[in-house]
């Protein structure tokens, strides 16, 4: 029995779909639904926390309040 080597058009389409990058179409009823989805997949860059920590470390110490000065007498 001769084995079939050529793919049918349907098989070729299926193969192409398998090899294509995995993307899916999503439907959003409203703009805010789409934005909510976008916000959910947006990561906050870790560098912000690092910068914030440095900035906080560099803050001057708060001036003592009048009652702190009074207690030190």
């Amino acid at each position: 029995m001769k084995r079939q080597t050529k793919l049918t058009a349907q098989e070729q389409e299926q193969l192409a779909a398998l090899n294509a990058p995995q993307t899916s179409t999503r439907e959003f009823a409203t703009a805010e639904e789409l934005l909510r989805h976008d916000a959910g997949r947006t990561e906050v860059p870790p560098v912000i926390a690092e910068r914030l920590l440095k900035s906080i470390q560099n803050l001057p110490h708060p001036a003592p309040t009048w009652w702190q000065r009074w207690l030190k007498r």
């Binding site: 703009a31 947006t42 990561e43």
Partner: protein
């Protein structure tokens, strides 16, 4: 943000009425919405990064001024919007840009009513930004605020200094304009 909790320099500042763990939790909970609002409102990741940093630094320094009259989210957004407006003002003073969406949707109302279909790709964020950039500034802001489910219409109205009815009316136009611009960006 765990570093903030452990850092001894931060602990010294608790005399301001601030507990480091509370601040870290505040950052964990709200940094994403603050960053996202700044990112999509300004359309510039670097500026959004700067704004988010500045907002939380200001919050850290002024935490004792929070009176609990509004939610944390509303208070943070108010500071974020002030920062964003300052950034935009300084930028606009150097670059004259007009982007009005008034005519965009009126001629394309049918398309604006259909659902938004989008492929889950890296480019989705770029498409969203492009559509938002085409909106009038007020419409862009209203859409971004209403997308946050933690905010009520009343809170959005307060943040944008108008009535809740005005917010609803403008949102209707903003949604339509966005839908058209988003479809055009495909």
């Amino acid at each position: 943000m765990e570093l903030l909790v452990r850092d001894t320099g931060v602990e010294k500042r608790s005399q301001l009425g601030l507990e480091p763990a509370e601040f870290a939790e505040l950052y964990q909970t709200h940094s994403r919405p603050v960053y996202y609002l700044a990112l999509r409102y300004l359309g510039d990741p670097q500026k959004a990064e700067d704004v988010t940093h500045d907002v939380f630094l200001k919050v850290y320094r002024k935490l004792n001024e929070f009176r609990g009259e509004s939610s944390w989210r509303t208070w943070l957004y108010r500071i974020t919007l002030n920062h964003c407006h300052n950034v935009r003002q300084s930028w606009h003073s150097r670059n004259l840009i007009t982007n009005a969406d008034e005519a965009v949707w009126e001629n394309a109302a049918a398309r604006a009513d259909s659902p938004l279909r989008a492929l889950e790709t890296k480019e989705l964020g770029q498409r969203i930004q492009k559509a938002l950039d085409g909106l009038a500034e007020e419409h862009r802001l209203l859409l971004l605020l209403v997308a946050d489910e933690e905010l009520s219409y009343a809170e959005i109205a307060t943040l944008t200094e108008q009535s809740a009815d005005a917010v609803r009316g403008k949102l209707h136009r903003a949604r339509k304009a966005f839908a058209v611009l988003f479809q055009q960006s495909a």
